[in-house]
Amino acid sequence: MSDSVLGGPHEGGAARSDDGVPAPGQTGGIPRGPAPAAPRPPIAHALRDAVMAALVSVVLFVPLVGLRTDVSPGSGLIIRTRWADVAILVGLVFAGRLLLNLWQDHRPARTAPTARRTEVLRRIGTFVAPLLLGFAVVLPFLPGTSRYVLDLGILVLTYVMLGWGLNIVVGLAGLLDLGYVAFYAVGAYAYALLSTNYGLSFWICLPLAGIMAAFWGVLLGFPVLRLRGDYLAIVTLAFGEIIRVVLINWVSLTGGPNGISGIPRPSFFGLSFSAGGGPGSFSDFFGLEPSPTHRVVFLYYLILALALLTNWVTLRLRRQPLGRAWEALREDEIACRALGINVTNTKLTAFAIGAMFGGFAGAFFATRQAFVSPESFTFIESAIILAIVVLGGLGSQLGVALAALVMIGGFEAFRDLEEYRMLVFGGAMVAIMVWRPRGLVSTRTPSIALGKRRAISGDLVGEGHG
């Protein structure tokens, strides 16, 4: 029996003073700058901290950069040392850390965001969402939209959909899933196998792929019902890998590493998108000049519709008891049990519905590529989707869409930087987590409100919750 004291881990997410007003400057978990109680000279503190950072970087860079093996002119390897490079890097770390510390000491203290700021953000949000949607709808007809832009749009929308699907599991139900790509793979292979083996059309296979993925979602859900947080993450990670390894090794069914090729393209209500036109093709029926762009535009609208379906279902469910139960589960599982909520069913439906949308996206992926192989479903995909959800702000639909746009679009935009792309990318993620630790859009509008809807700022909520 534990008589927990006030302020235990479940004692409300926010730091709060006794009169119920959020205490300014205590909202986050990250200490910002020196504590006010310790009147240490800021310069000395900053120097000390920078020296520590430099020492850490010495430990890291000596083996990573300082030592390099080369093939010797005779035979075997020789070790070359590059101490100058190490010195430059350590110097950079020292100077950077020092500047960062000094800047933090001199900037004005962070204050808790006011209700007004939240309100302003909410207003911006109400404009941004319809604008983005309108832009997405007219994009294929804008002058200057090339095939490349459309392809990129399809890619971004695929990740928007995957992000929204994972958002159900991670953002709403608070179940950290590191193996989401498994359901994407199940959907893709379900479509690939059903269409190539049985000649079923895309429109029949799409729901089947979703059902298959949902089935696997429940299958994953059962063993992890009792797990939370880190343990859940590890098991879901393993699950993602198991699916991929099975796909590689079950050569007779999946073709192993060679994958499945020649997957049929989707048709437009029975009209094919053949490049040569001809009777029964899309261009022939509508009297258009045959063009390969038609199919790309069609695929674009297909994924847009699928993504919007995901969004619509999520928004609808959030207002229903099931969606509320997911959110309550994220907040406090024990309280849910005490209130008679069937936690088992709630978790399983979250896994199943999240997985189903992953399966839809997978089927789309297969028909778009006309080829699937296990290589497309590595852990990095799960990580990217999860990053989209976390950077976007857990549970926020608009945030997820923006994050997908920034991450996938940005990844393309920095293609010219070649090997420095990952560096820029990592830096951007660190920057977002420093400045907006709860994601790009961190407010939550209550699903039930009286009269005026009031957003609940995520800034008042402790990080790392759910």
């Binding site: 008589d3 119920g20 959020p22 509320r324 309280a335 005490a338």
Partner: protein, 237 residues
């Protein structure tokens, strides 16, 4: 009189450590019964055992003639028992209204009368209806936890340390609300408290739990008068 809740020789253990060693208590309909005892005596364990988490290792828990010992938690809740858990456990990011609705939604009951009752009992919650649960003060959170438990129209309410960490004035408010509920709606209450003085004044009957065993059971007033209770739990001589 038929008993509403009966624990028969219940033993509960965490691994090898027995927290309850053959406890038998009962609660009659319409009663407020309190369970007092020191830290670690097993008070919360007893309440949680009624709810099936942890489960009783031996013995039986009987509610309205039904054996609920092995039932899943959500079914125990649906049988008519509600719980305001230790540490309140409100949903911090959901609004007060959403918190209350969560209390009703698994039971297929119309939430409107429950909301009205909650706001009549605790007018503060009405004022804070659209506010996020996590921004409420401790006392308001406790009110919310009790009101949320009542949303399912339970016949038995389990309260785990409602006075924990609250100012004396707020504790009095909450205890008054419990008494009002009991008198006006006939709600049966099993109350676990460290604040023995006020709990015994409120309750019809009380039990004293020491190291997982019931050492005394009597009316609230009689327990208050006993010197050994006064010495051990009331700190007055």
């Amino acid at each position: 009189m038929t008993q509403m809740l009966r624990l028969e020789n219940v033993t509960t253990a965490y691994g090898a450590v027995e927290a309850l060693k053959g406890v038998s208590v009962h609660v009659d309909p319409g009663e407020i019964v309190t369970l007092i005892g020191a830290n670690g005596a097993g008070k919360s364990t007893l309440l949680m055992t009624i709810f099936g988490s942890p489960r009783a290792r031996t013995g039986r828990v009987v509610f309205e003639g039904r054996d609920i010992t092995g039932m899943p938690m959500h079914e125990i809740a649906r049988a008519g028992i509600a719980q305001s858990p230790e540490g309140r456990r409100i949903f911090p990011r959901m609004s007060v209204r959403e918190n209350l609705l969560m209390g009703a939604q698994s039971f297929g009951v119309d939430p409107a009368p429950g909301l009205e009752q909650a706001f009549t009992l605790f007018p503060r919650l009405k004022e804070r209806e659209a506010q996020r649960g996590g921004t409420l003060s401790g006392g308001e959170q406790q009110m919310l936890a009790i009101a949320r438990a009542l949303m399912s129209k339970p016949r038995l309410l389990l309260l785990d340390e409602p006075s924990l960490g609250l100012a004396p004035l707020v504790v009095r408010q909450i205890f008054t609300a419990i008494r009002t509920l009991n008198r006006e709606t006939g709600l049966t209450v099993l109350l676990v408290e460290q604040n023995a003085n006020q709990a015994l004044r409120l309750a019809h009957r009380g039990y004293v739990l020491v190291n997982g065993r019931i050492t005394m059971g009597d009316t609230g007033a009689a327990l208050l008068a006993r010197p050994e209770v006064r010495d051990a739990y009331l700190g007055t001589h």
